[in-house]
Symmetry: C4
Subunit: 234 residues, 4 copies
Amino acid sequence: MSSKYKALKQECYEANMELDALNLVIYTFGNVSAVDREKKVFAIKPSGVPYEELKPEDIVILDFDNTVIEGEMRPSSDTKTHAFLYKNWENIGGIAHTHATYSVAWAQAQLDIPIFGTTHADHLTADIPCAPPMRDELIEGNYEHNTGIQILDCFKDKNLSYEEVPMVLIGNHGPFTWGKDAAKAVYNSKVLEEVAKMALLTKQINPEAPRMKDSLIKKHYERKHGKNAYYGQN
Amino acid sequence: MSSKYKALKQECYEANMELDALNLVIYTFGNVSAVDREKKVFAIKPSGVPYEELKPEDIVILDFDNTVIEGEMRPSSDTKTHAFLYKNWENIGGIAHTHATYSVAWAQAQLDIPIFGTTHADHLTADIPCAPPMRDELIEGNYEHNTGIQILDCFKDKNLSYEEVPMVLIGNHGPFTWGKDAAKAVYNSKVLEEVAKMALLTKQINPEAPRMKDSLIKKHYERKHGKNAYYGQN
Amino acid sequence: MSSKYKALKQECYEANMELDALNLVIYTFGNVSAVDREKKVFAIKPSGVPYEELKPEDIVILDFDNTVIEGEMRPSSDTKTHAFLYKNWENIGGIAHTHATYSVAWAQAQLDIPIFGTTHADHLTADIPCAPPMRDELIEGNYEHNTGIQILDCFKDKNLSYEEVPMVLIGNHGPFTWGKDAAKAVYNSKVLEEVAKMALLTKQINPEAPRMKDSLIKKHYERKHGKNAYYGQN
Amino acid sequence: MSSKYKALKQECYEANMELDALNLVIYTFGNVSAVDREKKVFAIKPSGVPYEELKPEDIVILDFDNTVIEGEMRPSSDTKTHAFLYKNWENIGGIAHTHATYSVAWAQAQLDIPIFGTTHADHLTADIPCAPPMRDELIEGNYEHNTGIQILDCFKDKNLSYEEVPMVLIGNHGPFTWGKDAAKAVYNSKVLEEVAKMALLTKQINPEAPRMKDSLIKKHYERKHGKNAYYGQN
C-alpha cells in the first residue's frame, strides 16, 4: 500500500537507524522525528521497537496535536514533547532524543556544559543549557507535553534562541537536540555527546579550567555561521 | 541423541552468547542460566569454557538441589547461587552473572548505585542494592550457596522485592541480574552496566548531584510498568 | 585529466583517511596536509567534506602563501596554519590536526602534558607543550595564520625544537602534530592521543605522581633516536 | 627453508597477533616471547615491526645469553629482559610486554594495584606489584638486562612468588606478564588491563574502598587453584 508520507517515513527511519549506528543508544532507547511543514505532520519512531527490527513502514505519522494520522503502532512515549516543540518552534525540521552516556551524565549532574573549546564553539556559542527537573505539579500532569514547556521555559529564562542553540539537557533525564532536518538533529546529538565527554575530561584534568574567552568563541562561531563564513563548501 | 531439554539448552546457550556479544564479559567470565519451572530443572553454562567454543549441547541441566540431570561437563562454579535463587524466587525464569567493568567497580566500592535519572527509573525505582561482603563463617562454608543467602538477606534488610528490583551487586564481587527468562536477565545486566557507568560519571561531574525526585521516579516507572503504562507495543 | 600533483594528492588522501580509521575524528573534523618541497606546494583536505565521501581528486594544492594552485574545492579552514608552519619549519613533510577527545581535553585544560613514562619518552623528551589561548588582537586579525605564530612563539618561549617535539596543543582548541611525511604526522596524532589518555588516568590514580626521572627520559629517547639507537630495523 | 624452531616461531607469532587482536597495543608497541626449555632458546618478536606486517618467519630465536640463533631481523628492544627472566625463572614458558592504557597508568602512578575484588582474586592473591623506577646507575648501564634485575628485586623485597603472581608493573614504564606458555602470558596481560581499569574506577567511586577481606581472597583463589579446585573442566 502506498502512502503520501513515504518519503517522510524514510527520512525518519534513516535518522533513527543512524542513532543506533553512532552508538548513541542501546536497545529501544531514544527516538528521532522528522516534520513535513506543508502537510503539518511529523513522523516518529514507534515505542519500544529495537533498532534491528525497525522498518520504514513502522514509522508513525501524527499531527501537532498528537493525533495519529497513519501507522498501526503506538508512537514513542516521548511523542508529545516532539509535537510541542514542532508547534512552538517553526524553523526546526527534525528532533532527536537519546540516552547517550556522557550527555545523560551531565543531565543527571544538573549542570550546564561550559564552553571550554572550539569543538563546542564551532557549533554553538553558549554553554549547553540544562533545564532543571520538572516541578511536581507538572510531573503529575501531562508529563511529556510538560517536558516541552520545561524546555521552552529554560530557553526563555536563559535568553537563548533555539536557532542558535540546537540542544538542551533535561535535568535527571537526558538530551534533546534538533536541526533543519532529522539527520541534522542526529548530528547534533553526536556532537553533544562528544562535547559532553571532552568537558568532563577537561574538568578532571583541571578543575579550575576557565571557560573559553569571549573573543575566541565569537571568532569560531562566525567562521562557520557568520556572514563571511569560510568553513565548508557553500 | 535427542534430549527433552533441547529447547531449554538452546535458550540458555543463546543468552550466554549474548553476554559475550554485548561486551559484558571477557574469556570465560560470567554465566547465564534458564529455568523450566514445570520440569523443575535449570540449564547453565559449563565452567571455564570460552564463549567462542561453547555449543548448545555443552549446557548442563541440574535440579534445584544442584544434582546434574544431564550433561557431561562440570557446571559453572556459581551454579549453587543460581539454584538457591530459583528455589526461593519462584517468579524468575533466568539469571545472569557478569564481571562487567562498571558494575564490578560499584561492587568493589561497596556502594549502592543511587538513582540519578530516568534511564535508571525506567527500569527500577530503588537504588541498585550492594550486598555487603560475606561474613567469614559463611565464606568458609558452602560459599556459592551462601552467596544466595547473602542476596536474600540483602533484599530483606533493604525491604526490596525481587520482582521490582531485578539486580543486585555483591560487595567485592560483581552483579547478578534476573528476569522472566534468560534473555531478560541478560538485558538487565546490560542496563545495569550502562546505569553504573552513567552514575559514576554523574558523580565525577558533580559530587553533590542529588538523587532523582521521588515524584519523577514514580512517574517514569509507572509509564512503563504501571496500570496505565504507555511504553512499548502492548 | 592527469595532474603533476597526483602522487602528493594520493599521499594526502591516504593520511586523511587514516585519521578517520584511527578514530581520531568524527564527521568532518580534522585535516592532514602533505608537502612537496621541490615544487613548493602542499596538499590539504577540502573544508567540511565527510571522510566517507572524500576522494583523492578532491584534495586541494596550494603554495605557501595560500594561493590555490589546483583543485576546485575550498581548502580546509585551517589551511593558513599549515602554510605558515611549512614556510617556517623547513624539515617537516606533513601536518595533522584533529579534535581527538583526550588531546582536546588537555588543550581545554590549558596544561602541558607531563612526561610520566616511557610511552611518552620513546617519542619525545619534553612535556607536550600547550600554547596559551591567543591574545584578542590576534584573534580578531588573520586568525588561522596567527595560530601558526602562536605555535612558533610557544616553541620559542619554551625553548623547544620542532624536530624533537613533533606536536603541540593550542589552548581551548586542540592538537597539531607533524613529521617527515603525512603518515608520520598522523602517527604522532595517535601517539599523542594515547599519551594524553594515559597521563589523565595517571593523575586520577595518583594526583602526586612525579614526572619521569631525567636519567630515564634520556635513556628511552636515545635507544630510539640516539647515535647508538637499537630500536627498529635500521 | 625449514627450521627446527618452526613450531616455536608459530606459537610466538600467534601470541603476538593476539596482543593486537585484544587491543592491548597500537602500532609496534609490545612484544611476546615463547621458550623451548629443551632446546634452551626462546622466540621473540622483531623490533619495530607493525603487527599487520608481521609473519611467523620474522620471529627471532635467541639463547638465554641474548645470542641470535636464527632470524635475520633485530629482536625486540626488550629482549634482554625476557632472556633474564627465562634464565632465572625456570617454570615460565612465555612472557608478554604491553603498553596497555590502564596498566601503564598504574605503572606511571607508581602504585601497586590493590586487590579489590574477585576478578582479581580469581587470578592472584596479592596486590599487583609495581617495581620502583630504576636507580640511575642501573639505567646508565645495561638497561634492559637491569629491568630484569629490577623485577627480581621487587619480588624478593615483597616476598612474592613468580608462580603465584604472574605479572608486574615497572614504575614509569608498563607491565610484564608471564605464564606456562605465550598464550597464557597474553591472557594475563588482558586480565591485568581489566583489573587495572576496575581498580581505578573503584577508587573513583569510593576513595576509601577497602582491600578485599583476606578470607574471601583465600576462598576465590583456592576454588580455582587449590587442591580441591572446582573451577573449569579439569
